[in-house]
């Protein structure tokens, strides 16, 4: 192997509405189309909703500044030019979102939730990995979130 795992094709997103995205607190053993609007979305009332009779508490999460959420779907394998045997996995972007709602099962959302902590890592990482001369001018980070991250 040449150390390359996959390629992500950029730009061929069909410019639709940003995808409405929910991170559910359960494992749903299915991939594919389903009528989310009829069976879930209409139960949402502010930060509360119900799914299969279970009470959910949710919170909208805006992705950190400069970040975007992308949904990727694997394309059928395409043979790389030149060599017949080398196949790169290819993904194309099927949707984009800038915020999503995450739901807890009958539990208030807090800043200590793993999702929030994970996203807080983004800002910390930007400080750790800023090129030194740039960060000395202090133009690289916008301190607006809190706490240390759980990802490290």
């Amino acid at each position: 192997m040449d150390g390359e795992i996959a390629r992500i094709s950029i730009g061929n997103v069909k410019q639709e509405q940003p995808a409405v995205t929910h991170l559910m607190p359960c494992k749903i053993d299915h991939d594919g189309k389903c009528n989310v609007a009829a069976y879930f979305t209409h139960t949402i009332n502010h930060n509360e909703a119900s799914f299969r009779g279970r009470p959910l508490r949710g919170q909208d999460v805006r992705l950190p500044n400069g970040y975007t959420g992308i949904c990727l779907r694997e394309a059928t394998p395409v043979y790389a030019e030149g060599s017949e045997d080398k196949v790169h996995r290819r993904f194309h972007i099927t949707g984009e979102f800038s915020q999503f709602t995450y739901w807890n099962l009958d539990k208030e959302t807090t800043d200590d939730d793993a999702v929030i902590k994970a996203l807080n890592w983004v800002e910390l990482a930007s400080v750790i990995h800023a090129p030194l001369d740039c960060s000395l001018k202090d133009g690289c980070s916008q301190p607006n979130t809190t706490k240390k991250s759980s990802c490290v």
Binding site: T21, M24, C26, D29, C71, D112, W121, H129, T146, V152
Partner: protein, 305 residues
């Protein structure tokens, strides 16, 4: 590339992956590609997943967020895999550092494309195109002009470079914690945290991108070693314990890690006389094939290396 992406959405898997990425890392014209590759992680020395932006200027680490019971609703579809991959740009210096240290062992100035050679992770040569590469001047001595520049790792410069990173990170930790608005734990964190604690924490964060050996050097350079470790060293006499972990690592795994025979003289006769009732019972049991309890707590050298 002239490859035609004949995408047939009906036939292929309906599975999707969710990535949260820096926009710059996936921006560009239609048809170009960001590349997901395996590179050597500077701390673990093992392969880890990274993302090169289409123009090759930004390298991001790909971290997986995964909770056991999570699924996505995306638009009008359901995704059973409720994880997402978080891609945050990394300073390429961290990824190049292990190669520089390795190549500096002969004390020669070398060109970067000679330094960045790795049979196991050949993609590392693309780190050369990253925009942060000019920062290498801060951790190396250089020779030659921009066209043909040779580098030699300079440990003192590198430690100073890392010190600045630690300071910046520490001041960021402090700044953001002051702005804490909610959460009792966070409030406690602000009250108890001292300058030293911020520094120590920042140093640990930076050390996550350094080899264990070099992280130790950084800790001692900054004076942020674990105080508990220092205490232990004071308490135990040097003969009881091997002086460093490295020596432990080099020993064979079958050997006991601590040698009590030297300190307690005639161990055999002593231990026979002092056996408790439980030990006596145990000595009658057939222990062949059983491991001693201490073996479970000794470092597994074979497995790691």
């Amino acid at each position: 590339m002239a490859c035609k992406n004949h995408i047939n959405t009906q036939d292929e898997s309906t599975r999707q992956k969710v990535f949260v990425v820096n926009e710059k890392a996936v921006s560009g014209k239609d048809g170009i590609e960001a590349r997901v590759v395996k590179l050597r992680h500077p701390k673990t020395d093992q392969g880890a997943v990274y993302l090169f932006s289409p123009d090759g200027k930004i390298v991001s680490e790909v971290l997986q967020f995964k909770e056991p019971y999570r699924s996505w609703f995306i638009g009008d579809s359901v995704q059973s895999d409720g994880s997402f991959s978080l891609c945050t740009p990394v300073d390429p210096i961290f990824l190049i550092l292990p190669y520089l240290i390795k190549s500096s062992q002969n004390g020669k100035f070398q060109l970067l494309d000679q330094v960045l050679m790795d049979d196991e992770f050949p993609q590392c040569c693309h780190l050369l195109n990253c925009s942060g590469i000019s920062g290498l001047d801060m951790i190396t001595d250089t020779k030659g002009d921009a066209d043909l520049k040779a580098y030699r790792f300079n440990q003192d410069k590198c430690l100073e470079f890392l010190r600045q990173k630690v300071e910046l990170t520490a001041s960021h930790l402090k700044k953001t914690s002051v702005n804490v608005s909610a959460g009792s734990q966070a409030a406690v964190f602000v009250k108890t945290a001292t300058e030293g604690e911020y520094k120590k924490y920042a140093c640990d964060l930076i050390a996550a991108y350094l080899s264990v050996e070099f992280a130790k050097k950084l800790h001692s350079y900054l004076g942020t070693e674990d105080k508990t470790d220092v205490k232990k060293e004071i308490l135990s006499s040097p003969e009881d314990q091997p002086p460093t972990k490295r020596i432990k690592m080099e020993k064979q795994c079958s050997e006991p890690t601590e040698d009590y025979s030297k300190t307690s003289g005639n161990t055999k006769t002593l231990s026979v006389g002092k056996m408790s009732r439980g030990q006596k019972v145990l000595s009658k049991v057939d222990k062949s094939g059983m491991k001693s309890l201490s073996s479970f707590f000794s470092p597994k050298v074979g497995a790691k290396k």
